[in-house]
Subunit: 276 residues, 2 copies
């Protein structure tokens, strides 16, 4: 596995000031973007979400052209397929939690090896239900900020490779998402996915699947879902930018199984034949 190539504000570097508020408070945002076949997939959508997050956190990030230039530089040094991670932090300074007026947002971009899950896409995965729940905060919901302890603790609930992902509920017993993915159910040929108004991350692939479903004339509902809905679903799948679409075929610790059904397959096929 090759070492990651990292650029901080355009310069090769591996370290950041400990005064940076990204470290001090998780005061920043990130994106993980696959670089495959020489292309950053759905880059525009990732950048759009990043800017939406900056806006929500009132981070005055104005160096978009520089960031895009640096992404080109980084990708030019990236020989093979990779994951490009972008972090934008608010920068250093301020008295305690109060963000300084003159904060200088930091741009950190790094290329990492692309994880490889050879059979998950075709054969499906087993998931488990996490005991740790997602807290609700509309102000932080949807965006991909750096406060990720709930995901860290949830992901730490299992160690076996036999489980590919954990599903997370909120404190109202609503199914929200996986630790690193969004969740879709298929019921009576309707596509259902949780609304993310109070918690969760609005995935780029989630949005792409919703768009594809529209093109394919699949009725789609962004709605409230719970464990009963999961049990009664005809098909279940997970999405994120790196994994695309993983069929879910079993819920660990239960007898519940699902097939890799036709709706999931149609969406996988539509995605793979769509230029992004």
């Amino acid at each position: 596995m090759s070492e990651p190539v990292i650029l901080i504000n355009g310069q090769p570097a591996t370290t950041l000031s400990v005064a940076d508020r990204g470290l001090q408070y998780g005061d920043g945002l990130f994106e993980t973007i696959p670089f495959r076949h020489g292309k950053l997939e759905y880059l525009d959508a990732h950048i759009e979400r990043l800017l939406r997050g900056c806006n929500r956190l009132q981070i005055d990030f104005t160096d978009l052209a520089l960031l895009q230039h640096e992404l080109v530089t980084l990708c030019a040094q990236t020989a093979e397929d990779a994951v490009i991670k972008i972090m934008i932090t608010r920068g250093s300074g301020g008295r305690g939690y109060k963000p300084p007026l003159d904060a200088l947002p930091q741009r950190i971009i790094a290329s990492h090896p692309l994880p490889d899950y050879p059979t998950h896409y075709s054969e499906g995965v087993t998931v488990q239900l996490c005991s740790i729940r997602l807290s609700s905060n509309p102000l932080l919901a949807g965006i991909k900020h750096l406060n990720r302890l709930e995901q860290v603790l949830a992901r730490n609930e299992w160690s076996t490779d036999a489980i590919a992902e954990g599903l997370m509920l909120d404190y109202q017993d609503r199914l929200v998402e996986g630790t690193m993915s969004n969740l879709f159910l298929v019921k009576d040929e309707h596509l259902l996915t949780p609304n993310l108004n109070e918690s969760g991350i609005e995935g780029i692939m989630r949005q792409r699947v919703i768009e594809l479903a529209s093109v394919l004339n699949m009725p789609t509902e962004i709605t409230t879902l719970n464990m009963d809905d999961l049990y009664q679903a005809d098909e279940v799948f997970l999405t994120n930018s790196l994994i695309n679409i993983w069929p879910v075929t079993a819920l660990s610790g239960t007898n519940k199984t699902w097939s890799h059904g036709t709706i999931t397959q149609r969406l996988q096929k539509a995605l793979s034949t769509t230029d992004n």
Copy 2:
């Protein structure tokens, strides 16, 4: 203002790996401890909370003796009164959110100038009610972890020095704490403070005040409080390790005022005459 002195794992340094999970996910904890008159105040209590946080986040921090030695080293370089901030992160590595089994926790300690609020302690402060709410998660409540976006956004709701602190509600309309302090009410000579089972940080000074109240035979309740309780309180005060006890004398945007009452004064006096 002198530059902060920083030790990372005992070595003078100013930067940390961008791969550190403290930055990537807020995967760590912190403490801020006043160093006054040559002494780290309530050090044992801070260390105890730090270890409780490590335990809760399953961070395998075993270098306590090293940390304590490094604190001595840092304080020896600190000529005047200061704030010592400790951060313990889980370290680098892991595949995504999953913490690596061999993570090497990082010890970051830094001295900063002690903030000076000359009259707040004696004359009291005006607070405002923040519109941003605290989310509830019992697993993250009480400990001083690095996921602090709610506090950052709350603290960003005001800019004037006329307001010293913001009070925060949770989504069940319960009063929880200030952005950087714990909250106490006095009603009919009873001391009341919110329970922090679902959100908030269990402050060292909060615990100290509860202990002092016991010594002074003040009836104390750790309970559920809301805005009505605040309005009906006879006295209101805030605590943290740096500010000790600040009387609250007014709620911004309302006509509500409180006096710097006798119970608050008794606790301030008891605190200032107690060896810590």
